[in-house]
């Protein structure tokens, strides 16, 4: 256990000093001053370093090993990206600086937007959304504005039952009613069912491609046709874009709105939960509704245009997570067109190879080629009293991070596995061996799996106590 910074605090210690004031410091002549100091910890620099180094050692991370979390695309985060993102020419810009001072930044944003448009086949992008869910919200706001502009009152958004929870949540914020459509026995959208559900009240079909099972919607052309025939838009959640680079361009197949996660497909690190970036691309008929300001280019000069009478406005106070753009664009420039296609091909090959290795040790509900990820079920181990949780906790004891578990909801005891393109065959083989071994242990030594993990900094934690009596803030009288 590592004591908190509050427990380590000792009055009088300092971890950092700003320069002495070079002007007179008078009395604070304001009404409504703070009555008592906040009680911040007081530590020296060395002990702060040690504190965080100790904490760091308790984290699993991509630089340590494979991170097969399905739909999270935990690929390697290239070092050169980090290096260029730290250039002061990027980190030192204030968002209110005039355009002339920010030409390099605007050019980078413009080029990234154009690159994303080429990669996806969408007409134009906004880079404002700070995360994937923020992108979904922005996209649905665009759909809302589009129908308002057309004077159409449509209130339903159809979402497959395999969808991520952010989809219905994003839709609800915009005042739409999400309606679930059931996947068929192959884990896909059934066009006939969709046709029945799609009415003049449907604003949007919100789908994920490939879907959260790692499956490509074979009938996507028909699905899009059905939606468009009823005047509805098709929103594509692009969280799984790592499967499609250079293979399928969503714009070419009729997708109207999509978001991309730069922190997945384009290699920017997740930072323990963010910052991410969720640019939104739209087809031609929706460009006017994109957030402002937009970056424009004229004869090599870049500017910000706030001109957009139909625009939804702003979803970010400035331009989005700019520093993330730098890393994503560095990735795109490192790889180029053929390199991006190799990303998806290798991601798909790795996933299919791993699936082939594991499908006999675990249940595979939807057989057939997968895209960049696949979903297994641990229900075959239930007879030994073993659940998906037990399997992944045991993985931790082998020093390997868990896949995504219990998602998508339509697969019982789901283990959602995404090996990504940057992992080598040896690493994937090792993962497969351990997974096979655990399936065997489930039969021979289920008690050990129930006990797992035992080698981690802490063992299974009491989440019920945390939820009943949350301890969310270190008490104030410690120091």
């Amino acid at each position: 256990m590592t004591a908190t910074v509050f427990e380590k605090s000792k009055p009088g210690r300092r971890g950092y000093r700003i320069p002495e004031a070079d002007c007179a410091k008078g009395k604070i002549d304001l009404a409504g001053l703070r009555s008592a100091p906040p009680g911040l910890p007081e530590m020296g620099e060395q002990d702060i370093v040690r504190h965080y180094v100790e904490l760091a050692a308790k984290n699993y991370h991509v630089d340590k090993g494979i991170y097969p979390l399905g739909s999270c695309t935990m690929k390697y985060n290239p070092l050169v990206n980090e290096e260029v993102a730290r250039l002061e020419g990027f980190t030192g810009l204030h968002p209110a600086q005039n355009e002339a001072d920010c030409q390099g930044a605007l050019e980078l944003m413009w080029r990234l937007e154009r690159a994303l448009a080429e990669i996806t086949g969408m007409e134009a992008f906004t880079l404002q959304p700070a995360a994937g869910a923020h992108g979904e919200l922005t996209g649905i706001m665009i759909a809302r504005a589009y129908f308002l502009d057309r004077g159409e009152k449509r209130r339903i958004v159809l979402i497959p039952d395999s969808a991520h929870g952010t989809n219905p949540a994003s839709v609800a914020i915009c005042g739409f009613t999400p309606k679930t459509i059931q996947s068929n026995e192959r884990g896909l959208i059934d066009p006939a069912l969709l046709n029945r559900e799609m009415t003049a009240e449907t604003a949007c079909l919100m789908l994920t491609l490939p879907n959260t099972l790692g499956l490509f919607e074979r009938e996507i052309a028909e699905i899009v046709r059905i939606a468009h025939a009823k005047g509805a838009l098709v929103y594509m959640d692009g969280a799984n874009m790592n499967a499609l680079l250079g293979i399928v361009r969503p714009g070419d197949i009729g997708i109207d709105i999509m978001h991309i996660n730069l922190h997945k497909t384009f290699s920017t690190p997740h930072g323990g939960g963010g910052p991410g970036s969720g640019p939104v691309g739209v087809a031609k008929h929706l460009v006017d509704f994109l957030p402002v300001p937009r970056v424009t280019e004229r004869k090599g000069a870049f500017a910000l245009s706030t001109d957009g009478p139909k625009s939804i406005g702003r979803v970010h106070p400035y331009h989005g997570n700019f520093n993330v753009f730098v890393k994503a664009y560095a990735f795109i420039r490192s790889l180029g067109g053929p390199g991006l296609r190799e990303v998806s091909e290798n991601a798909i090959l790795n996933a299919n190879y791993l699936m082939a290795r594991l499908k006999n040790s675990y249940d595979l509900k939807y057989p057939g080629p997968c895209m960049h990820e696949f979903v297994l079920s641990a229900r075959n181990l239930k007879k030994y009293g073993i659940r998906a949780t037990d399997v992944v906790k045991r993985l931790l004891d082998y020093g390997i991070h868990a896949p995504t578990v219990y998602f998508p909801l339509i697969v019982e005891e789901a283990l959602m596995i995404e090996p990504v393109e940057t992992e080598s065959k040896e690493t994937i083989d090792r993962f497969a061996e351990v997974m096979e071994k655990i399936a065997g242990e489930a039969e021979t030594n289920p008690a050990m799996l129930h006990e797992a993990p035992v080698t981690t900094p802490v063992r299974r934690l009491d989440e019920a106590v945390a939820a009943r009596c949350p301890d969310l803030c270190c008490p104030g009288d410690l120091e």
């Binding site: 304001l30 911040l40 991370h61 914020i173 490509f216 996507i220 293979i247 393109e421 934690l461």
Partner: protein, 451 residues
Amino acid sequence: MSYIQNTDADRKEMRERIGISSFDEILEPIPERLRCAGALRLDEPLAEAGVAALFGELAGKNRPASRAASFLGGGIYDRHIPALVRYVTSRSEFYTSYTPYQAEVSQGTLQAIYEYQSLICRVTGMDVSNASMYDGATALAEAALMANAIAKGGKVLVPRALSPAYRAVLDCYTAARGIALEEIPYAKNGTLDLDRLSSALKEKTAAVILAQPNYFGLVEPSHELAALVHGAGSLLVACVDPVSCALLAPPGEYGADIAVGEGQSLGLPQSYGGPLLGFMAVKTEHVRRMPGRLISGTTDLDGKRGYVMTLQTREQHIRREKATSNICSNEALCALSAAVYLTALGEQGFREVAAQSYAKSHALYSMLAATKGCALPFGAGFFQEFVLQLPTDAAGFLKDAASKGVLGGIPLGAAFPELGRGALLVAVTEKRTKEEIELYRDLVAGKGAGR
């Protein structure tokens, strides 16, 4: 440059194991006609050195405020950042890890965020902080949605003297949700018009937004305002500059229901306005309505102290369309920066930053008050930035100043035409030196003399 490690031989073995002879067989579910016809038309790939050169060139086309004498503020500030912050956030144990779903192997992130939550509670004086929001503006918008949900409907009152960027985001979110916003003007002294607020509160009001300090840098009478708002049975949403909380009564002291704000000042570079750090802290009674992740202390099977994500039933992955928000990824690494920053500065250092910002901004204010040809319309009741009115269009002054390496402030004329085309928002942080402040005064004096 490619980051793929598998060789052709590896791929061949893998295909054999899958039972295919060519990769294209796996693409069978994708109809041929939907596939890309040719390669993506992107620039040629670059080796690492080429990437470094290209980005060096792009960065070189910028003139970053961090290298100038910057008087730009309005929500993003040029401050001293301890080397510690970059050291910690550059450790790949933090930056290449994911959201702490597997708590047993994420205790580093979890404890750091728990400490962040605790630090935000201390700074704001509130009971509970979440693990972060995207930025101050979306945190404010989410607070408006949250307050509207707690109050079961009703309009939200918003001060005119709010950052236009925040206002735009608030407009966007509340329009989508169908929540009415009503603007409350500022009085002659630049702070919220309390009479207008009182009359607006006569109708059912879900919440009132207080910007503290407001966009003009002025300190609002928080206690008085809070009493008025609570007296009318409405919720108070305080949008605060965290650094100001070192000196001013924090939201917890005047009983704000929800406190939000921008944490960029807490150790984040300006980064052209992103990534940022939205913080949100609430009274305990509202915690189940709160958006975003929460980290709780608990114990493991052996009774050892540990941390987990908690109250997850509020969140989208469980409650889906009934969730308190759709937020999922947040700004964890930025929250870590803030935690390191506040720990490094500590009790004394944090106050010192605020006190120096106050002293330096007031020093410039006093110099300008004694300078002919400019006006200071709202008095000295500000924290670290103030409105300056020049007799001529601010653009000319800003251009002259820039040529001397001074970024002279944010022009206010477009968003607040009533302040005139010569109005500027001038911020002075602890980082500005005496020379820079005097240079600013001289620039104004030169301009004021009608040069």
